[in-house]
Amino acid sequence: MDKFTVLNGLVAPIDRANVDTDQIIPKQYLASIKRTGFGEGLFAEWRKDASFVLNQSRYKGATILLGRKNFGCGSSREHAPWALMDYGFRSVIAPSFADIFFNNSFKNGFLPVVLSEAEVDRLFHECNAFPGFRLVIDLERQTVASTDGALTMHFDIDPFRKYCLLNGLDEIGLTLRQADKIRAFEARRKAQHPWYF
């Protein structure tokens, strides 16, 4: 997994609540057994509309997506963060996320940032008003800021997730450090509730 430290990127706004993973990556693009190549299917239905955000030249090369509440609801498909990343995004900012999408993102070095509704509103205004609007996401400091620093917002993140992202750590390797504990738990459970084994 790639490390995530500081991201300075162009922002693309998707001004819709409840963006579901069927929209992020429609099922006709799920037919692969690899983790890459899904960028082509990102928002495929909406991209058929010439005025859709990602079809506008001012947002070309964007790496930060700005969204509304309950972003990533619906299907558990991890192809959603894979598609966002394959397209070039590294982070999405929204007032709230669906749980499974939120989890999946961290596993791929893709950072979902939660800001308040008011802060997200402010960013939508800035983004619409100023072509070329960029943000700097500093994971270590847990801040989202305009490039001139005039606008700075703080976000929360689990310390463990932050640690894994900053260091690009393989979570399986980390868990396997607890292998003895897992084995001991399993042995106890098997003795107590043998019908589960």
Partner: protein, 471 residues
């Protein structure tokens, strides 16, 4: 201290907790299917890792498998990518192993959330995960069951654990008798209509109350299945006699000397009196009517007595815009009575409503009648090969066929349009599935979520009808 059902399930599976509350949770049952597992197995292979406990794995192919042309074998899978995913799962299970595998064309194959309970592979007190958000279905058995992403599939395969944090507790009580024609599907649509698609985000929801206790296991599965449509990864129902009777004699349920101690333990799987919930609400079942979604999110739902909502009456600008967009996509005019909406296709199936009880209810509605002329296709897709067999023993297939329905092989089918069963652009469908998102059943397709009885009646009339008054 009194505990909730979720507290008990959580506590009995915690292997290790970090200071910030991040826990390693032990996983008892891992359900695997063809669409979200290939990359996980590939990850194991690349890292040179073996599965921790293959006996926890129950696998099947269901998402992209066709529901026709089974007589042709694998050649009947026309889509080369679907075929590749099916073959890849075959190869991965061959290489890594599983407790049991129901491959494509096996007579016990079916939708992963139908076959787990059917085989007794889902047991009370288990943690159950699957790379599919509708894993919440298994919570009907007092399991902690939820969907995970593909990286987590790989993580569970390699470590038998999930890295996760405890959710909050919510209890939704549904009290009283349901009116004739009102089903579990209407209960859960009513709940989603009330709390919204994000209302349960961050929560594990326990469904309780006399209405839930009166439901069959099939009905409870329907409710838990759609917990995720209310934003909750996990839904659950406490163990009672209905649970235990359902499990007795199932293939992988405990037998002999293990049965009694298992049952004794299962009976403890309920919330203690006085247990604390972060959020609690109660619905009066007598007020629940048949529900029909009108928009592109399950929360966009009204009763069959209502009309399509008018965005002009919505004060919140963001919501109004979402409503307008949904109405445009759905091709509907505000204030149209729901019963005036004509349909092109009908789909009875999916992990929400494809079990034997669902098929019986739908068959009772269509018996001796004919599908309306304007309905181009009416599909019945049993949830598993065993459900199909049972239905055929009861003669349900004949009832459906005589009425003009197509009787298909089991699978996810038109619920998600990953296989040949899908809607064409502009087609309107009465569907017993769980998601009415844009394009869910096929690009441009228009989905109305309803119960099996409502879908069956809509097929006969060619438009929605109030099943309570329809005879």
């Amino acid at each position: 201290m009194p505990q909730t059902l979720y507290d008990k399930l959580w506590d009995s599976h915690v292997v290790h907790v970090e200071e910030d509350g991040t826990a390693l949770l032990y996983i008892d049952r891992h359900l695997v299917h063809e669409v979200t597992s290939a990359q996980a197995y590939e990850g194991l292979r690349v890292a040179g890792r073996q599965p921790w406990r293959v006996e926890s794995v129950v696998a099947t192919a269901d998402h992209n498998t066709p529901t026709t042309h089974w007589e042709e074998g694998l050649a009947g899978v026309r889509d080369p990518f679907a075929k590749l995913q099916i073959e890849t799962l075959d190869a991965n299970i061959r290489e890594f192993g599983a407790k049991v595998y129901f491959p494509y064309l096996d007579k016990r194959q079916g939708i992963v959330h139908v076959i787990g309970p059917e085989q007794g592979a889902t047991l009370p007190g288990m943690t159950v995960v699957c790379g599919d958000s509708h894993t919440s279905t298994h919570g009907a058995f007092a399991c902690l069951a939820h969907g995970i992403g593909t990286s987590e599939v790989e993580h569970v395969l390699a470590t038998q654990c999930l890295v996760t944090k405890k959710m909050k507790n919510m209890r939704i009580n549904v009290e009283g008798p349901l009116a004739r024609g009102v089903t579990a599907k209407d209960v859960v649509l009513a709940i989603i209509g009330r709390i919204g698609t994000a209302g349960g985000t961050g929560y594990a929801i326990e469904f309780a109350g006399s209405t839930m206790r009166a439901l069959s296991m099939e009905g409870r599965m329907t409710v838990c299945n759609m917990a995720i449509e209310a934003g909750a990864r996990a839904g659950m129902v406490a163990v009672d006699e209905v649970t235990i009777e359902y499990l007795r004699g199932r293939k992988f349920a405990p037998t002999g000397a293990l049965w009694d101690p298992a049952v004794a333990y299962w009976r403890t799987l309920k919330s203690d009196a006085g247990a604390k919930f972060d959020h609690e609400m109660t619905l009066d079942a007598r007020e629940i009517k048949p529900h029909v979604t009108w928009g592109t999110s399950p929360e966009m739902v009204v009763t069959v007595e209502d009309t399509v909502p008018d965005p002009d009456k919505e004060k919140d600008a963001q919501r109004r815009e979402a409503m307008e967009r949904a109405l445009h996509y759905m091709g509907l005019q505000p204030r149209t009575p729901i019963t005036n909406i004509a349909i092109d296709k009908v789909f009875i199936g999916s992990c929400t409503n494809s079990r034997i009880e669902d098929l019986r209810v739908a068959a009772a509605v269509v018996k001796g009648r004919r599908v309306a002329r304007n309905v181009k296709l009416a599909l019945v897709v049993p949830g598993s090969g065993l459900v199909k067999e049972q239905a055929e023993r009861e003669g349900l297939d004949r009832i459906f066929r005589d009425a003009g329905f197509e009787w298909r092989e089991p699978g996810c089918s038109m619920c998600l349009g990953m296989n040949p069963d899908r809607l064409s652009a502009g087609e309107r469908c009465a569907s017993t599935s769980n998601r009415n998102f844009e394009g869910r059943q096929g690009p441009g397709g228009r989905t109305h979520l309803v119960s099996p009885a409502m879908a069956a009646a809509a097929a006969i009339e060619g438009h929605f009808v109030d099943i309570r008054r329809w005879t």
